[in-house]
Amino acid sequence: MNMARALNDALAVALAEDERVVLLGEDIGRTGGVFRVTDGLQERFGEHRVVDTPVAESGIVGAAFGMAVAGLRPVVEIQFLGFSYPAYDQIVSHVGRIRNRSNHRFTAPMVIRIPFGGGIGAAEHHSESSEAIYAHTPGIKVVAPGTPAAAKGLLLAAIEDPDPVVFLEPIRVYRAIKEEVPEGRYTFPIGVAEVVRAGSDVTLVAYGAMLRDALQAAGALEGDGVSAEVIDLRTLAPLDAATVVASAQKTGRVVAISEGHRTVGIASEIAALVQERALYSLLAPVERVTGWDTVVPLKRTERHHIPGVGRIVAAVRRTLED
């Protein structure tokens, strides 16, 4: 099952088991969403629970916020991360704050699903990887799965979570990876990273679409006798520092990988954490392999922006130099 299918399965499970779950978004009903993640759900659960909305991201998130406060569990779809900015005020000023500003009296348990990242040669604004903005925001959690099984388990966990979750789905992975996905309800814990490949020489920390590149890089390095451990972060906020730090202490070398912009990014946060808690275990400076601090280039040169296996392997080699 691919990731789009696994997410669809998670939403179907949630809609079937919990009558509080409502889906809202642009084109999610009749057409099943721009990436077909909600395919068939309106037909199955009705237009009152799978709601096609006007083109108004702030309105969608704001209305879902009201629904969540009133006791529903809305799951919103924003079509692309670059289209989430009109809703940014609602997310930062209201969704992430109502628990604090009402001292727990009102809460907004809701999920905002957003496809993110590039690699499909889309139009401008369709390839953003600005997840650090949301990870920087108090009161919300940010989840970014890299595989179909994790996507389903994490989405079901996000819908159950008492706090709002921005749920980022890697666009170029939607249909690129297939794996066994368990049937029915199961959850993966939010805030817990997973060591998806054990190794001893270097730790590769990745998430979302970059997980696949990190694993390929680890495979390539193995041929050269380098044993790379790969961590799938899965949750960007709150970060699972313990898993990252334990691995850094074991391998002594860390390469933090993110498609997002370099400065004040997720990879920067990994580097800071490792520096604070594992400095004396380090055998080399932490390397960051990231997108650049430029606007994501359009199709013809996009590949120079998104880190690939080559840049990851090169970074690992730098950590191995004397």
Partner: protein
């Protein structure tokens, strides 16, 4: 478009009263109490016991008359200038004081009071009322949601999105625009080229009503009709209440920089409290002793609320970490420990 008016400036009935005498006396007392809160809050601010405060004097009839049309379990989503409406719907005065004293517990009304803490940003909260009412309808309840906002908020894009969603989904929402003439220093004619704000409702497929917001009876009547429509599943209504902010934008503002003092004279003649008093006097439902009693009861109620708010010990320095998520994350716990360590036991 002529505003709906039931009481003329002298308190004479121009039509049938939507309320009996006892109800009018009750709402008169509510307006007097709200004004006592407003004056007390301004005084506390001057004494440094309250942070910046946004006065609502002159707007009591909009808020009291509007909220009086709600059922106790209906939702209310309002702004920092709407303490009277919030209190009418069950939000305690001490909670309102606490919020302005800088304590998050002021944002936490008692269980069963369906009033969100006041919106501080302008305009983003109207869509919340749409979502709240929509959720109630999806769950089969007939609760409605009322939202208060100023004329300045109608310039925000979020006003459009809220009105549009309410129109498309026919949500049980009552939009109450308190057109008080000013958005800080900008007058209403610089916010929109529309002749009225009420007419904007046309574009969203819902009725728009213009009302004299300083007329308690007219305000109650139009709000009652709008709440009724919403409850019956007939959709949203936009009410534009014409009123005036007699004070400055906040205690940090100086209205003398942009508003001529003379313009207030005309509005003093339309004062919402005086108007109802004249009406009650004409119907012999008023006596000096009764009003004296209302005023002293209000003062005592407000003083007691101040005492309750000021009597609550402040949060400890680590409390913010407890209210960010349902449970603090591991990293927030570490941050709390770091803060308390840096405070060196002072926390």
């Amino acid at each position: 478009m002529e505003p709906v008016r039931i009481l003329d400036f002298d308190g004479r009935l121009l039509g049938e009263s939507p309320l009996g005498v006892e109800e009018i006396r009750r709402l008169f007392a509510a307006m007097v109490t709200a004004r006592a809160y407003d004056h007390k809050a301004s005084a506390l601010q001057l004494q440094g016991r309250l942070a910046t405060y946004a006065q609502f004097e002159g707007q009591e009839a909009v808020q009291v008359g509007g909220a009086a049309a709600l059922r106790p379990d209906d939702w209310l989503v309002a702004t920092y200038r709407d303490a009277a409406a919030m209190w009418m719907q069950g939000y305690p005065w001490d909670g309102l004081f606490l919020g302005r004293m800088g304590d998050e517990r002021g944002g936490s009304p008692p269980p069963g009071v369906n009033v969100l803490p006041p919106s501080i940003t302008v305009g983003a909260h109207m869509i919340h009322a749409v979502g709240l009412g929509w959720a109630e309808r999806l769950r089969g309840s007939d609760r409605v949601a009322m939202t208060f906002f100023g004329d300045g908020a109608t310039s925000e894009g979020d006003f459009h999105e809220a009105m549009n969603f309410a129109g498309v989904y026919r949500t049980p929402t009552v939009f109450v625009c308190e057109n008080n003439g000013w958005a800080i220093s900008m007058s209403r004619d610089r916010q929109t080229a529309s002749e009225t704000i009420a007419q904007k409702a046309d574009a969203y497929g819902m009725p728009g009503v213009l009302v004299d917001g300083n007329d308690l009876l007219a305000m109650f009547a139009v709000a009652r009709d709008a709440v009724g429509r919403a409850r019956r599943g007939e959709g949203a209504t936009l009410i534009e209440a014409l009123t005036h902010r007699m004070g400055a934008h906040t205690t940090a503002d100086d209205a003398g920089r942009y508003r001529a003092e003379e313009t207030l004279d005309e509005w003093r003649l339309r004062d919402p409290v005086d108007r109802v008093r004249r009406h009650l006097q004409a119907t012999e439902a008023w006596s000096e002793a009764w009003e004296h009693d209302v005023v002293s009861t209000a003062a005592a109620e407000i003083e007691a609320a101040v005492a309750r708010a000021e009597g609550l010990a402040p949060f400890g320095p680590g409390a913010a970490f407890d209210r960010t998520y349902a449970r603090p994350t591991t990293d927030l716990e570490a941050q709390r420990t770091a803060l308390l360590r840096d405070l060196g036991g002072e926390g």
